[in-house]
Symmetry: C2
Subunit: 340 residues, 2 copies
DNA sequence: CTTCCTTTGCAAAACGTTTTGGATCGGTGT
DNA sequence: ACACCGATCCAAAACGTTTTGCAAAGGAAG
């Protein structure tokens, strides 16, 4: 690596002092340097390809311009990619860069990784989970501005953003109701997590709001994967007065429902309409017909989280905020009117 | 943020000078400090929760201990997550951390992002693509140790790692041959990329090696997505002497083949065996029966790439190397003997 | 007792910035 | 002509490390 060009070289080339160069480039204290010289310095800097050393400036003003993103998992779904990209885009717009770190389930590894982030003097961190859940903030993070992404915690002092599970379910179910369905089944998750409860609540809300009475036999639970959905849907759809529409806990479950329908000789959406939640494009676009589903806004949550933590850093004092983000309906081809 | 504890606090608490602390912690020049005091210093440091400021040490020894990972896309598949995680794990083991940056297709954005990495004084970068392809290294990277991940370039001076496409195809096809198939169809990609040519070559290699004559009507091409696979398979499988097994360009294409089989009343694997390439677990585990496929080793490629760039950084001089990584067969349930 | 090592510890410089307090230099009012 | 003022610019200190040269202390050899 040829010796990189520093502020001194710029100063010498421009015929001014390093102070002047610094002032000219970070035009904060504007009146200290004449506009003409400022322009001159900038031209020289650009010509020399000067790129300020952020280690040095970070050391000097105790700001690394780095954000940490610690996430539990990263490889199983494209969700993590969406979160990361949202976080990155927002960070980039404000002159920051993000260090991603992920720890699997290993909390000791997580601790060491947070330590590394601290060593690199990250200005803040967003602590992310891949699936909406309650967490406890690792004590190593105390002292660093932190916001939660797709997770909540008991502490009202920490900001967080999660998808609005109940509203998402309402959106999904209302799409079915709007198409004319009244016998609507739901395949829920067995796990005891916020998504399970929130989506069930939204399901009931939507039915109630439209005065639809719910047949309790039309609510089943299963593993939140394709095979679980297949089995659950098989049960639901072989029922004599089977539901005409299925609201599935997730897109994978919905994929199982497609398989069950096919096995029973039912076609989607003519014989049974299906909606999911997730907008996993790999699945939703691949099914045939395409799966109408509600998108979990990982990208936007990522953006929000870093914007929030940057606000906390740059002008602290704003009260913490726990946000639930709305989830848009993505229409493809799996919802149609019930067969009369 | 309470004032962080620095090396001076440690020195004072341990009753020695900062020099001694530094030597005690980075036991490089070992003979400078007595083993006993070294242990003492370390204990004190741990008790105080001392974490060295890497901005400062990076500034001092011109090593940031940061690696850049620039990637084109990140949100569409879980592949990016696997690459990133592999890169991270390898980096972590060697005391580095990675800054991920992604630019979509925008080459001007890419340039600015690389500039940011440079400002943060990254010690090296791995330049990644999500799908194996030929690229040109952006000039902004000249001067920084760089290795290519899932991409190749004309320059023999830069190291790279890609999946071994032809060997992957051979592995897939041999699984079919081993099960007893001889009438094997292939659904290839229309796009002119290395994967297309490599996998076709591997297909032919495997057939030739086993003395199987190939019916050219059993080779079709289509869009590398589910609908493309569905259409292609529909054509292939409605043929009078249809193939008994299908080698699909990708798992998404294979998913389309499943749909075509179902539409024609054929069952997998009794009537038709299917293999894919990708090991997209979201799809392969969700299909029924599970999809036997060849895994693209994104995690391992990520590991290799950062280990290589770290070798280049820490002890330069090794000749560059272009590696093609083997791809393992992942058996699920979509391959069986042909119906006699 | 002197001399000469060896072992151990310290002071200070350096890395590339930002920023504070002052210096320089025209020009202006008296 | 003198003091003063505003506008520019500069020298130097500071951020938290690592490392180089040196000093002090102690032990062995003469």
């Amino acid at each position: 690596m040829t010796t990189r060009v520093g502020i001194r070289e710029v100063a010498k080339a421009a015929g001014v002092s390093v102070t002047t160069v610094s002032h000219a480039l970070n035009d904060a204290t504007s009146s200290r340097v004449k506009a003409e010289t400022q322009q001159h310095v900038r031209d020289v800097a650009r010509n020399l390809g000067y790129a300020p050393n952020r280690l040095a400036s970070g050391l000097r003003n105790q700001r690394s311009q780095i954000l940490g993103l610690v996430s539990d998992e990263i490889t199983t779904t494209p969700f993590a990619g969406a979160m990361i990209r949202g976080a990155q885009d927002a960070a980039y717009e404000r002159g920051y860069v993000v260090m991603v770190v992920n720890s699997g389930l290993d909390s000791e590894l997580e601790h060491r990784e947070i330590t590394m982030l601290q060593q690199h003097q990250v200005d803040g961190v967003v602590y992310a989970r891949l699936y909406h859940q309650g967490v406890e903030l690792p004590p190593a993070l105390s002292g660093i501005p932190t916001v939660l992404l797709d997770a909540v915690t008991g502490d009202p002092a920490v900001s967080s953003i999660v998808p609005d599970e109940v509203e998402a379910a309402e959106t999904a179910v209302e799409a079915l109701i709007r198409a004319g369905h009244t016998r609507i089944g739901m395949i829920n998750n067995v796990d005891d997590i916020p998504a399970t409860h929130g989506r069930l609540e939204g399901f009931h809300n939507a039915l109630r709001r439209h005065g639809i009475e719910h047949d309790p036999r039309h609510l089943v639970i299963g593993q939140p994967i394709t095979s679980g959905g297949r089995e659950a849907a098989l049960g639901l759809l072989s029922h004599p007065d089977r539901p005409t529409a299925l609201f599935c806990f997730s897109d994978r479950v919905a994929m199982g429902a497609y398989q069950a329908a096919a096995a029973l000789g039912l076609t989607v959406p003519e014989d049974v309409s299906i909606v999911g939640i997730d907008n996993l494009e790999l699945i939703a676009d691949s099914l045939w017909p395409g799966l109408t589903t509600v998108a979990l806004p990982h990208y936007d949550m990522g953006r929000w989280a870093v914007n929030r933590v940057l606000d906390d850093i740059e002008r602290p004092g704003a009260p913490p905020k726990q946000v639930r983000l709305a989830c848009p309906l993505i229409e493809r081809g799996s919802v149609g009117p019930p067969r009369t």
